[in-house]
């Protein structure tokens, strides 16, 4: 490869090229990393204790923020939906509005963003710290594969937790919308549920949301694990990796959401 000397007018181009190369290189490493983690998953199934522990720190510790966020989002959907629908005398359709919005989009997406912020950042920080304190080298020297004992259980826990968390978020949101719409604004309770059931299709809407939440859980956990394992082993490096983990995971989730929505709409016209 030809190197261009500094100070040339090509500098910005060279800089951009370098960034592109390092981005590609990192993406490649992240891919190989994912491959190794996935290969290690079968051996983890023999150690349910390890998965249990990670389900606690990834799932249980995220549940409170998901409950609170789900409730607030549901309340707001109830208010906004009512205000728009009442103009068309269609406030009976509030259930449709709340149910479809939550199940198809907000449930999976907002949960994934919260997941990246709470569980993802914690995973990155934990792994970064483990790296900074040579715990991965220590494990390797004890003839223990960190991919099998440390990374794979966390991956699996993220994968299991996300759909459950998204389900909890949507369910709480639907109840929040019910509370505002039926409890405070006087929408008929029967209409709320009936309209919802009428328009939320199990396969097209609920399962779409479910697949999305699985994919998001996978993506967010992958980013969190890679950023942590790849962190520079210093206090500063761990801090930077944590920030990057949340930012990249959130962007990845939003981008993936667009792609998945387009694909899933394509298959169910």
């Amino acid at each position: 490869m030809q190197t261009v000397t500094a100070g040339s007018w090509l500098d910005p181009l060279v800089h951009a090229g370098r960034r592109a190369f390092s981005f590609l290189e990192r993406t490649g490493r992240a891919g190989l990393f994912l491959l190794r983690v996935l290969q290690s998953i079968p051996s983890v199934l023999l150690r349910p204790g390890l998965i249990m522990q990670q389900l606690f720190s990834v799932g249980v510790l995220t549940i409170v923020i998901v409950l609170v966020a789900g409730a607030f989002v549901g309340l707001v959907l109830g208010l906004q939906g009512y205000n728009v629908l009442v103009r068309f005398n269609a406030e009976a359709s509030l259930g449709t509005f709340v149910g479809l919005t939550l199940v198809r989009e907000l449930g999976p997406v907002v949960t994934a963003l919260l997941f990246a912020g709470r569980a993802g950042s914690a995973l990155t920080a934990e792994l970064g710290l483990m790296k900074a304190t040579e715990q991965f080298s220590g494990l390797e020297m004890m003839a223990v594969d960190p991919y099998k004992r440390v990374l794979a259980p966390r991956m699996l826990a993220g994968f299991i937790s996300m759909p459950l968390l998204a389900g909890i978020f949507s369910a709480v949101g639907v109840l929040g919308g019910y509370f505002i719409g039926v409890g405070l604004l006087g929408v008929d309770a029967g209409a709320y549920w009936a309209q919802m059931q009428n328009s939320v299709d199990f396969y097209e809407d609920l399962m779409t949301g479910f697949w999305k939440s699985l994919a998001f859980g996978f993506a967010a956990t992958w980013v969190a694990l890679f950023e942590g394992y790849d962190a520079e082993p210093t206090a500063e490096g761990v801090g930077r990796a944590t920030t990057r983990s949340v930012v990249s995971a959130s962007l990845l989730v939003l981008g993936l959401n667009f792609v998945l929505t387009a694909l899933l709409l394509e298959t169910n016209p």
């Binding site: 710290l129 483990m130 304190t133 040579e134 715990q135 080298s137 220590g138 494990l139 390797e140 020297m141 004890m142 003839a143 223990v144 594969d145 004992r149």
Partner: protein, 270 residues
């Protein structure tokens, strides 16, 4: 050298070359580590002493040269064979590398639980014996965060000997320790070596402490072996560089001043 070198020398390093980017860390060096002895690698900071331990344990792969551990070329082993061999190699990291979410007891029990099918009673018995050996049986229920640096290293040592390895590698065991924990560590390393028949490799830049227990010392700088011998031999070395390093002289072949322009010229510029 003895008649049967294969059995006498546990680790044989030949023609080792390792680079990190443009920087040469090791250039074609040969090292021998004899069974049952304490061999020390000394040199200034940043000479890649820790890198050497990572090469010996196959966490890094050299550019050229071979490293044989107990007759096996460690860099050509399969992962299974490597892990088998590593169970017999202990390593003490500078930070201790204890698992932060496990207690001291569980940390020492970890390799036993991973690699043996021992009963809970047997594990308890072994762990307490190892902790007793490093004098921290009373700290069994503490978490690593509650330990001082010296205590963490002692726990790590107990963990390193949990599987009764044939050798232990110590990465800077004395750095950043107060005189008392330094004394404790020196005594422990010496006792481990004598009582358990271990082969020890110490990487350090603490001249006085290391000399007091090492049987053989390699002094390494700039990727080359500057000098070697027993502590007594090194004391009388002819190498000016080694003299400066071992005696800790501020000026010598290694200049006090970082290479720079002429002082006066620098001062009166414009």
């Amino acid at each position: 050298m003895s008649a049967s070198p294969a059995s006498d020398i546990l680790i044989r390093v030949r023609g080792l070359t390792f680079r990190r980017g443009e920087r040469v860390i090791f250039e074609n060096i040969d090292l021998d580590f004899r069974r049952g002895r304490i061999t020390a690698i000394m040199g200034p900071s940043g000479t890649g002493k820790t890198t050497l331990l990572k090469l010996i344990s196959a966490q890094l792969i050299p550019e050229a040269g071979t490293i044989e551990v107990d007759g096996q070329n460690i860099h050509t082993l399969s992962q299974t064979d490597l892990f088998e061999l590593r169970k017999r190699m202990g390593m003490l990291f500078q930070s201790g590398a204890l698992l932060t979410d496990l207690t001291v007891f569980e940390n020492v029990a970890y390799p036993l639980r991973e690699h043996t099918q021992l009963s809970e009673r047997m594990i308890r018995y072994l762990v307490l014996a190892k902790l007793q050996a490093v004098g921290l049986r009373g700290a069994a229920q503490l978490l690593p965060a509650e330990l001082s640096g010296g205590m963490a290293r002692r726990v790590a040592l107990a963990r390193a000997i949990a599987l009764d390895p044939m050798m232990i590698m110590y990465d800077e065991p004395f750095s950043g320790q107060d005189p008392i924990s330094m004394g404790v560590l020196i005594k422990l390393i010496h006792a481990m070596n004598d009582n358990l028949g271990l082969t020890s490799i110490i990487v350090s830049h603490d001249v006085k402490e290391t000399s007091s227990i090492a049987d053989h010392i390699y002094v390494i700088s700039d990727g080359r072996i500057m000098d070697q011998g027993s502590p007594a031999e090194l004391d009388r070395t002819a190498s000016e560089w080694a003299q400066q390093f071992l005696k800790g002289l501020p000026d010598g072949p290694v200049r006090f001043h970082y290479p720079a322009r002429d002082y006066a010229e620098d001062l009166f510029e414009n």
